[in-house]
């Protein structure tokens, strides 16, 4: 279950931070079936990709998960880029919250994130939403 817990730790951290900032934002996760939200909805698509699952020390292998998290933040163009900025900030706060000394490790996976890239704006003229991309590497150890 550690793989599930590792994913859950990051998803919960980001979701909590986003809900605190704006509870009208929909969170969409890459491992569940979803329908793309409508043109007027603010939503965040969170993807967790695992690149590594174990580390081989002497003796038994240890669970050591690492990979990349990408959050695509979608804000209707009518809402303006300031909303995109504030939501991006909430996502970044959520990601970095796992590194804080006071973080409660509910899932017992010692989650950590490295330097965060973004928010990178994507300028797509024919889309109904402004899009910002925030991504970072993560690790989780059991």
């Amino acid at each position: 279950m550690t793989l599930v817990n590792a994913r859950a730790a990051f998803e919960k951290a980001v979701t909590d931070a986003v809900e605190d900032a704006d509870d009208t934002v929909l969170m969409v996760y890459d491992n569940v079936r979803y329908t793309t939200p409508g043109k007027t909805k603010k939503y965040i698509l969170m993807t967790v990709n695992f690149n590594r699952s174990t580390i081989q020390n002497q003796g038994a292998a240890q669970d050591y998960y690492s990979g990349v998290i990408q959050c695509n933040i979608y804000v209707p163009k009518s809402a303006g880029t300031s909303v995109l900025s504030s939501l991006s900030e909430a996502v970044i706060d959520g990601l970095t919250s796992v590194n804080a000394s006071g973080y409660t490790d509910t899932f017992s996976v010692a989650p950590r994130v490295s330097d965060i890239s973004g928010p990178t704006p994507l300028e797509l003229e024919d889309r109904s939403h402004f899009i910002g991309i925030v991504s970072c590497q993560f690790t989780a150890v059991v």
Partner: protein, 172 residues
């Protein structure tokens, strides 16, 4: 008898090694990006359009202007005897890198940009594949390339079939 080298050669040898590693890293990065694993693929034009340059790479190439990708969404209409656009791909995607990676000199060209020339590159970046490669695999690649043990360039096929040249191969 082995030829002796003077200490004065150390700087030259070191610079040559750094330059070789620098070019190997750029080459491996472009090769790595031009795969189905690390770039989103529909027609294969985006994955084929990675370029290394000393100047920032501009995303301005239209798929419709470059063969073989220009005809991927075209089919022959016998009634009109002409090529027409179709929403269903009659031909599969093709990954064929469009740009050869030039040789760089780390002293004269300390900054190299690797970017994508496809006009719709912004859309493709919504996929996490590129970030996954850049953030997840580039770090180890840099360490291996600039270390004493150079990364291998042997590719092992792990999938049963693929439309891409590099796709479903694992780099050892």
């Amino acid at each position: 008898m082995a030829k002796k080298k003077g200490l004065g050669q150390i700087v030259t040898d070191l610079e040559r090694k750094i330059n070789d590693d620098y070019n190997a890293l750029i080459q491996l990065t472009v090769e790595g990006l031009a795969t189905e694993e690390n770039s989103p693929v529909d027609t294969g034009f985006f994955a084929s359009s990675w370029k290394a340059s000393t100047q920032k790479v501009r995303a301005e190439d239209k798929r419709e202007d470059f063969a073989p990708w220009s005809s991927i969404y075209k089919t022959r209409d016998p009634s009109k005897n002409q090529w027409v656009h179709t929403s269903k791909k009659p031909v599969g995607s093709q990954i064929k890198p469009r740009f050869a990676v030039p040789e760089f000199n780390f002293k004269r060209q300390p900054t190299v940009y690797i970017g994508n020339t496809a006009e719709y590159a912004g859309y493709a970046l919504e996929s996490p594949k590129v970030a996954n490669f850049v953030q997840g695999e580039m770090g180890p690649l840099v360490q291996q390339t600039f270390g004493d043990k150079r990364p291998g360039r042997i590719f092992v096929r792990t999938g049963s079939s693929s439309s891409s040249v590099f796709g479903s191969y694992t780099k050892l």
